[in-house]
Amino acid sequence: MSQLTTRPQESAPGAGPNAASRHTQRRGPASGAADLRASGTTMRSAREGGNVLSIAAHTTWMTGRQLRAVARQPAYLVIMLIQPVIWLFLFGSLFREVVELPGFGTASYLDYLVPGVVIMSALSSSMWSGMTVLEEIDRGIMDRFLVLPLHRSAIINASAVMQALIIAVQSIIIVLLGWAAGAHYPGGLPGLVVLIVTAVLVAIVFSAFSNTVGMLARQRETIIGINSFLLLPLTFLSTAFMAEALMPHWMRVVANCNPVNWALEAGRSAMSANPDWARVAVQGGGLAALAIAVTALSVLMFRAYQKSV
């Protein structure tokens, strides 16, 4: 993703040494040590200069930091795993009979439900991402990173990479649980991979959205309000739990504009015995485009935050 504020010209090695040595000359007695210090600094700056490798390294450290934080909050992990299990078995029992309805088009509701729970879980975990951003701003952690020579893009990247990793693991676990409970995946591995990729895209869209809201509103209550408002409509105005054929017409129209539904349609189609790959590509592509757009929005908002400091 784009590099936020580091100006390209400042990494030009030619610009550095003069200023550094001018300073060391003035330091007098300690100039030997200062010389070493200054030249080391110059080397580091040159190495830092905006290349992809160092952005990747910075993103890795920042992601590692967030993953460690998650791993140290067992309650969070447990909830993240138990919640989909509850949905899987709750909705599985509650709606088991709906497949009997004419036009539903599936024999086993569990087969139908697994992608629904995967995508809903991706949505409901990722939309809290803004809370972390807000907490880091409030605690001064964000500002500390901003006064370090850290690639600005690494901050945004780390949030997206962490969401992607968490959601991928969560999705795999749901798929395995579904399989253990007797779900069938006729599309095989390619279908499951598409499902997980669309789940990750949903997570990137909604975590970037949540980050944007967090940086814009700077209030927990706003994130909580927006999430409570959005989660159920986004989930139920989609084919997560109910086949499109059984929806009222207006709801089908709305569902067609719902990115959560794009993910479900693409995932389900890919997981079926005869995937409509063209449709998967269109819906997956739409989701990917949206992910890029919302991420760009969050980058803009991040720049606005930096200006507001």
Partner: protein, 346 residues
């Protein structure tokens, strides 16, 4: 003798006047027309401890944010180690250490992880990073707690960790924004000792902001008093206090005392000058406070003014602040907008 003293004259002219930090005519306005900085300038020679002193809201933190590349000024320039902070922020970030007012430590990570992440971002690797991390954790008394999450640390430990993180890259310039705010007296004196040691042993240039007068007096070799986004006076603590010849005489008057007869009465007392009345608080300067006081009291009694309390003190930075800002430091700190009312706190 106001802002001119603080202006970095010809900024980097002759040898021996190396400036580690320069701020020139910084202006910053926040939304809703809050003018945080209003043409603030100062210069810090390399290897010295410089204090920015002022009440909350004076513009100290905004200044630090601009000079440390975090915020951008609307106009004006700032340099760290000769580098323009706006043109070369990444290089400046390599050369400096910043300890912000809000602790920026990650509470879920351990002390060691916090220090090491800062070190990595600063470009340290492998054994060099591990050695520097251990050295700093040891020096700040955090070796035993290094493996514990920072959320289990006390306020003083967290602050020491902040400073350790700021020093990981062996900076040329260290910024300490309110380094002892919120610390208990014991932690504060430990922090003072460590800051003093850093300045002496490492030849580090330190810019510290504080709203504690005694802290500035104790730590800074030069200081500047900030009020309403401007430097009102700068110099060594002794120079500033020396400008106030003589002792400070403070009197508490009855609450309904009219101001003019008091000033008229004092004008007739020889050796007493700079008299000011703020609410019920009267302050003046006298060459010899102890001998002037009886004459002052007699003059006021003659004018029918009731005096509730009287003190004589050697000049303090509080007096310097009062002289240049026209307000008492403690009053400005509590309520920047309202004039002084009761002097009971003194």
């Amino acid at each position: 003798m106001t802002t001119d003293t603080a202006r970095p004259a010809p900024a980097r002219a002759a040898a021996g006047t190396a400036l580690a930090i320069e701020a020139h005519d910084l202006v910053k306005t926040y939304p809703k027309q809050v003018r945080a900085l209003d043409g603030l300038s100062f210069a810090v020679p390399a290897g010295t401890v410089f204090g920015l002193l002022g009440p909350n809201g004076a513009g100290k933190s905004t200044t630090v944010k601009i000079v440390t590349t975090l915020a951008q000024a609307d106009s004006g320039t700032a340099r760290v180690a000769g580098l323009d902070v706006r043109a070369k922020p990444a290089r400046v970030r390599h050369l400096m250490g910043v300890v912000a007012q809000l602790s920026g430590t990650d509470p879920v990570a351990t002390g060691r992880e916090n220090v090491m992440l800062s070190g990595r971002i600063q470009g340290l690797r492998g054994r060099d990073l591990a050695r520097r991390t251990d050295e700093l954790l040891g020096r700040f008394g955090l070796a035993d707690a290094a493996g514990r999450p920072v959320r289990t640390y006390s306020g003083g430990m967290r602050r020491r960790l902040d400073v350790a993180m700021g020093l990981i890259n062996r900076p040329q310039v260290l910024f300490l924004d309110e380094p002892t705010a919120g610390l208990d007296p014991e932690s504060r004196s430990a922090m003072w000792a460590e800051i003093g040691r850093l300045a002496a042993a490492e030849g580090l240039t330190i810019l510290l902001t504080t709203h504690y007068l005694e802290e500035a007096d104790h730590l800074a070799s030069r200081l500047a008093i900030v009020d309403r986004g401007r430097i009102v006076v700068a110099g060594t603590p002794d120079e500033l206090k020396g400008e106030l010849r003589g002792d400070a005489v403070h009197l508490e008057l009855a609450s309904d005392t009219p101001r003019d007869p008091v000033l008229a009465a004092l004008a007739r007392v020889p050796g007493v000058r700079d008299a000011r009345v703020e609410g019920t608080s009267l302050s003046a300067r006298a060459d010899e406070g102890a001998t002037a006081l009886p004459a002052v009291l007699a003059a006021l009694e003659g004018a029918g003014v009731t005096v509730r309390a009287a003190t004589v003190a050697r000049p303090s930075l509080d007096d310097v602040y009062l002289r240049y800002s026209g307000r008492r430091f403690t009053d400005a700190d509590q309520s920047p907008a309202t004039p002084a009312t009761s002097g009971g706190a003194r």
